[in-house]
């Protein structure tokens, strides 16, 4: 019955979802594009007419732009490095037959279910607080001066918080990849005289290659837009102002919607470049 008739019925049934999705995406995107070409200051006179590419130029040439790009890259890079490294190690560990495997796996996945705002607040107040935090007590126990995490090592602290949230995601994807490795390949390598470390380097890691790429790309898209973790901890001070946070400040703190929208369009373009790579790799994964 895969006829013209059933195909048009399928289109009809998909239409509501497609229309909703398109509307949901296209309306805000079009509005952002529209505002990015206008001088729009809500508290100071409202829409003051079109200004061409002025907003785009001003956004890039502002003194806050390059530091924010740098902060974004440091956070994304740091989180990726931590989640991929520890994700591989945790996945290897969880792949071993251990007692209470099911419960351990659920516990490992748990951080993913905590909302970013909540987890950032928990980290800020319960771990990193220089007076009452657990880490301060730990430092004090060894007689060391407690670290003022969010002011002395602000970027590292945020990387730590975000990495904690994303580690379960990386672990989960990598664990499924490890489980799909044919055990006979490892046995063949063992017969071929490869010690455990070479087996990891020559067999396991190449096998994980594609999964690692997928983890990196998906995480990059989400990490480029982290906001809550910065908002509830440093508020963008101490060099933790990322591109996303800069856009937020332009729109809400400086009340300059046009300038913020221009920044938003830059972010959309950046995210789409990553997304194109992601689609290609995931698509190839499905073909193979």
């Amino acid at each position: 019955m895969a006829t013209r008739h059933s195909r048009s019925a399928a289109r009809l049934m998909m239409a509501p979802a497609v229309i909703l999705l398109l509307g949901w995406m296209l309306v805000p995107l079009t509005m952002t594009l529209w505002f990015s070409f206008r001088k729009y200051l809500p508290m100071r006179g409202g829409d003051l007419g079109g200004v061409g590419f002025d907003n785009y130029v001003r956004f890039v040439t502002s003194s806050a732009f390059w530091p924010s790009v740098q902060a974004t890259l440091v956070i994304v890079g740091g989180v990726l490095a931590i989640t991929v490294t520890f994700g591989v190690l945790l996945a290897l560990l969880l792949d071993q037959p251990i007692w209470g495997q099911g419960i351990v796996r659920i516990l490992v996945i748990a951080p993913f279910f905590v909302m970013p705002t909540v987890s950032a607040l928990v980290w800020k107040n319960m771990f990193m607080d220089p007076v009452n935090g657990l880490l301060a007590h730990l430092w004090g126990f060894f007689g060391a001066e407690p670290v003022q995490w969010l002011s002395q090592a602000p970027l590292a602290s945020i990387i730590l918080i975000v990495a904690w949230q994303w580690l379960p995601f990386a672990t989960l994807i990598l664990l499924t990849a490890i489980q799909s490795l044919d055990s006979e390949q490892l046995e063949a390598a063992e017969m071929d005289g490869a010690p455990p470390l070479s087996r990891f380097g020559h067999i396991v890691l190449p096998h994980l290659g594609r999964a690692i790429t997928v983890v990196v790309l998906i995480q990059t898209i989400f990490l480029l837009s982290i906001f809550a973790e910065i908002f509830v901890t440093t508020q963008g001070s101490f060099g933790t102002r990322t591109l996303t946070y800069l856009i937020y400040q332009r729109v809400l703190e400086s009340q300059n919607v046009g300038l913020g929208s221009a920044g938003g369009i830059y972010a959309v373009i950046l995210a789409n470049i990553v997304a194109i790579f992601l689609m290609r790799i995931v698509g190839k994964n499905l073909d193979a």
């Binding site: 044919d182 006979e184 390949q185 046995e187 063949a188 390598a189 063992e190 017969m191 071929d192 005289g193 490869a194 070479s198 020559h202 067999i203 190449p206 096998h207 290659g209 193979a288």
Partner: protein, 334 residues
């Protein structure tokens, strides 16, 4: 060199004993086939020899040296796996080179051996391809190539042909036999297919539930199976077993006669029956005969041109000197 001796080897997984104490000696240069129905422990036995599983008791010696606690890589054995276990991200050349790379062989020696193996296995044109771009038979040859270049004292094959289609299987069977003739290295080959066992082996080890039922050359097993299990397992189509009066007349609990030892006789034949299914293979025809009063079905091999149809009456004359006699426990009566 490649003499492998198993002494009182046992293997248990938890409380389940899959290999009860087992003794076996495999001579240097011999092509030994482990054959048995699935779950008989033949693959486990091979993995014990390879060292991929730890034995629960007993000793394994290779060339007179106790190898029980030697890790698999140091035993000097090479294994070809059922799934070929090629490394998908490496080219054929790198796959074949891998064991030599791990052993730290000089580069020119590696190249020499790769070229030699590729020549012998017709892989020269495929050296730069990935395993994913090869057919099943080619992958099989790469796996064999990877085993050859190590120059092992024995090859272990774990059902290597079961993933190939029938025509390719026959071809690879010949290639492996020829390889054995050329290298004259010990080979242990696991299969559930008795045809592979019969055609390739110098010696067949028939296993059931971890027990060795019989060890012998293909023809020994065919001519004088030690019990009804071996008699039924070796030979195709399966031997016919007859119980009751006809068996007692010959002083046995069960008598067996192979389909090829029953002749089709038109009249006044000792056995009479009705043809059920007739399988025409061209060279031979197999008749499944019912209603003989001896067994539910008797299988008979007749020349290809004999034409009986479903429901025809048929007369059968067994060659009486070819009867195998078994007692109530299923053991052969000499």
């Amino acid at each position: 060199m490649g003499q492998i001796t198993l002494e009182k080897v046992t293997k248990s997984f938890g409380d389940v004993e899959v290999i009860p104490p087992l003794d076996l000696t495999i001579q240097d240069g011999e092509f030994t086939v482990f054959v048995g129905p699935s779950g008989c422990g033949k693959s486990t036995l091979l993995r014990l020899i390879a060292g991929l599983e730890d034995i629960s008791g007993g000793t394994i010696s290779i060339d007179g040296q106790d190898a029980t606690s030697i890790p698999p890589a140091k035993r000097g054995l090479a294994m070809v796996f059922q799934s070929y276990a090629l490394y998908p991200h490496m080219s054929v050349r790198k796959n074949i080179a891998f064991p030599m790379r791990m052993a730290g062989l000089p580069k020119d020696e590696q190249d020499r051996r790769i070229a030699q193996a590729a020549e012998a296995l017709n892989l020269t044109d495929y050296l730069d391809r990935r395993p994913g771009q090869l057919s099943g038979g080619q992958r099989q040859r790469v796996a064999i190539g990877r085993a050859i270049v190590r120059e092992p004292s024995a090859f272990l094959f774990d059902e290597p042909l079961s993933n190939l289609d029938a025509a390719l299987r026959v071809g690879m069977r010949l290639e492996i036999s020829e390889l054995h003739k050329r290298l004259a290295t010990t080979m242990i080959y696991v299969t559930h297919d008795q045809v592979e066992a019969m055609t390739m082996a110098d010696r067949i080890v028939v296993l059931r539930a971890g027990h060795i039922e019989q060890v012998g050359s293909p023809l020994e097993l065919y001519r004088s199976p030690r019990n009804t299990f071996v008699a039924g397992f070796i030979g195709s189509p399966r031997m016919n077993f007859i119980e009751g009066a006809a068996a007692q007349a010959l002083g046995a609990h069960t008598i067996g006669i192979r389909p090829e030892h029953i002749d089709v006789a038109a009249q006044d034949a000792p056995w009479q029956g009705t043809v059920g299914v007739a399988e025409h293979l061209g060279s031979d025809t197999f008749f499944h005969v019912h209603g003989t009063g001896l067994a539910e079905t008797l299988t008979v091999r007749a020349p290809g041109e004999v034409s009986f149809r479903h429901g025809d009456r048929i007369g059968l004359a067994p060659r009486t000197q070819e009867f195998h006699r078994f007692d109530a426990e299923g053991l052969r009566i000499a």
